[in-house]
């Protein structure tokens, strides 16, 4: 009986201690945290360096990058090279996965420290970088169309023919004790 209420009182003591404790929140719009070096903000493109290799467009899981490619002799060498005349990044779809940054061979697409993307219209979030605006609503990549394998290997009967690969186990999880 004397213990009844002790737990509650203990908890209330803790909350009272916190009542006079230090606050941990920050006033966001006035106070801005220093972003770490690797922080991934909104994407931006350095169009001078872009070689229109379309790698970023291909890897993007969200199909948020659309590039319109032409051939143009940009550096005056006389040989027309691929040139990105239109380049749009649809920030309403981007999920900041950084795959395009990693895949870019010339490091022309990179993250900024901007992260406050807001607009009244989703189309406003499609940021154009090229000379000519690209319609962001058109899907840059049609879905992967795989030709069905005509089951060439499995000709014999009802047995599912899945030849087991003779690859040795990469590691033996069961031998955990030995490690």
């Amino acid at each position: 009986m004397p213990q009844v209420g002790q737990g509650i009182l203990k908890g209330m003591g803790i909350t009272l201690k916190h009542l006079f404790g230090k606050k941990i929140t920050r006033m966001y719009p006035e106070y801005k945290r220093d972003l770490p070096e690797r922080s991934r903000g909104m994407l931006t493109v350095d169009m001078d360096r872009c070689i229109a290799c379309l790698q970023c467009m291909r890897i993007c899981p969200d199909h948020c990058i659309s590039i319109e490619q032409t051939k143009r002799d940009a550096d005056g060498s006389g040989k027309p090279k691929p040139y990105a005349i239109g380049f749009v990044i649809d920030d309403s779809r981007c999920m900041y996965c950084s795959l395009c940054v990693e895949v870019c061979p010339v490091n022309c697409i990179y993250h900024t420290e901007e992260f406050e993307a807001q607009a009244y219209n989703r189309l406003e979030l499609a940021r154009q970088f090229g000379e000519r605006p690209v319609d962001p609503t058109i899907d840059p990549k049609p879905p992967v169309k795989k030709k069905p394998k005509k089951a060439a290997a499995s000709a014999d009967g009802d047995a599912p023919k899945r030849a087991p690969k003779k690859v040795p186990p990469k590691k033996a999880p069961k031998e955990g004790a030995a490690a």
Binding site: G7, K10, E37, C97, P143, K170, P173
Partner: protein, 394 residues
């Protein structure tokens, strides 16, 4: 859109729908009318978008039927149309309280089918991140449990810790929640130089505050005890039969933890205990989670101490195009066994990806455990199961 119509056999569908679903014997015993109630999908305390169709007798639940799919994104179908590396950021969206584990599971599966070696330093970093993630998941889930019981303060204390862990993640990976850090063959980048010290300091402060903010504030509270002790009680047999894993299983006394029983990564080299409890109720699951947090702290310290030098990203070639085969990755996510099943057909997109999410499997408990409890007990039971909307809806 669909090329062929599919019809299932009538016999499979015409069976009585009640079956083993609800407890048939608790209905029809009442003299009074029962009350149908829809809880969710928009409900302030529901873990995401879950709809519970409840049948109430007064305040007692006689039937509980969860309806899912309000957050379904068909992750498995999307993954079939993405290249292998491009699926990793999508797995982040599955169980958004255990992103590292999602990535880890998928990456383990792809590495399994690909047969690549992972540098030891990368393994250590993965385990370090996963254990931090477990802290960042278990502590808020304790807070959520208290929120569901009506106490609002613990969740903010727990989110204080989660935010600090997320700051560490941001410094390491660049994002606070959707990391995309663990890659096929290693991790994206090495830890920044000051981060090991920061993690160590953080873990020390967490240890110092842990007892006060998450044990003393909650565990002895008489109201907490009366609300959770004996609530959601389940036996080992039932939990095993329902396919429950994680703390919800361990709180019944079943000693099962993939990290120890079917080890992956470098867990065999680390010292840790598997926490079990015997009660099998909400309070026991709370105790298990609290104790697992301490084990995670232990693991983090070991990782920091033992971390070797070296590369963090193995060589996987320019295009990841595994041979035909099936890969499996299983990790012990904070909610239980998270397994990924990858079928490769030799192209650079997976043929089939299947996620076995612990939230989905554990949530089957609801329709078994909830009937017979009072309406306010649903929420603590949700806290026991601790599902995450992104997890069960894929």
């Amino acid at each position: 859109m669909l090329s062929e119509e599919r019809r299932v056999e009538e016999s499979a569908l015409t069976q009585p729908a009640s079956g083993r679903l609800a407890n048939p014997d608790v209905r029809d015993e009442f003299g009074l009318e029962t009350l149908d109630m829809n809880m969710g999908p928009q409900h302030p305390a529901m873990h995401g978008l879950l709809r519970l169709i409840l049948e109430l007798d007064g305040e007692t639940v006689v039937r509980c039927d969860p309806v899912m799919g309000y957050l379904h994104r068909c992750q498995e179908k999307i993954a079939e149309n993405r290249m292998y590396p491009a699926v990793i950021p999508l797995t982040d969206r599955l169980d958004y309280f255990a992103n590292m584990h999602n990535e880890h599971g998928y990456v383990l599966a792809v590495e399994d089918v690909l047969g690549v070696e992972v540098p030891p330093r990368a393994e250590y970093i993965r385990v370090l991140m996963c254990e931090l993630m477990r802290l960042a998941s278990h502590i808020p889930s304790v807070g959520f449990l208290m929120l569901e019981l009506g106490a609002f303060t613990p969740i903010l204390y727990s989110f204080r810790e989660r935010e600090r862990i997320q700051s560490i993640f941001e410094a390491v990976t660049g994002a606070r929640m959707m990391f995309h850090y663990i890659r096929i063959g290693g991790v994206k980048a090495d830890l920044p130089e000051d981060i090991p010290q920061k993690i160590w300091d953080y873990v020390e402060t967490l240890e110092a505050n842990f007892q006060r903010d998450f044990v003393d504030l909650i565990q002895g509270n008489e109201i907490f005890i009366s609300r959770t002790r004996g609530v959601g009680k389940m036996t080992q047999e039932k939990a095993l039969e329902m396919g429950v894993t994680g703390p919800a299983l361990r709180c019944t006394g079943v000693d099962f933890d993939i990290r120890r029983d079917y080890p992956y990564s470098i867990y065999p080299e680390l010292e840790f205990d598997v926490i079990t409890d015997t009660a099998g109720d909400v309070e026991a699951s709370y105790r298990v989670r609290i104790a697992e947090c301490l084990q995670s702290i232990r693991l983090i310290k070991q990782c920091l101490e033992k971390m070797p030098e070296g590369e963090v990203l193995g060589d996987t070639g320019r295009r990841i195009r595994p041979a035909e085969g099936e890969g499996f990755g299983r990790v012990e996510s904070p909610r239980g066994e998270y397994a990924v099943h990858v079928v490769s057909d030799g192209t650079d997109t997976p043929y089939r990806v299947h996620y076995r999410d612990p939230s989905f499997c554990n949530m089957q408990l609801l329709q078994e455990v909830v009937p017979g409890h009072y309406l306010p007990d649903i929420m603590p039971i949700m806290g026991l199961v601790d599902p995450v909307s992104g997890g069960w809806d894929k």
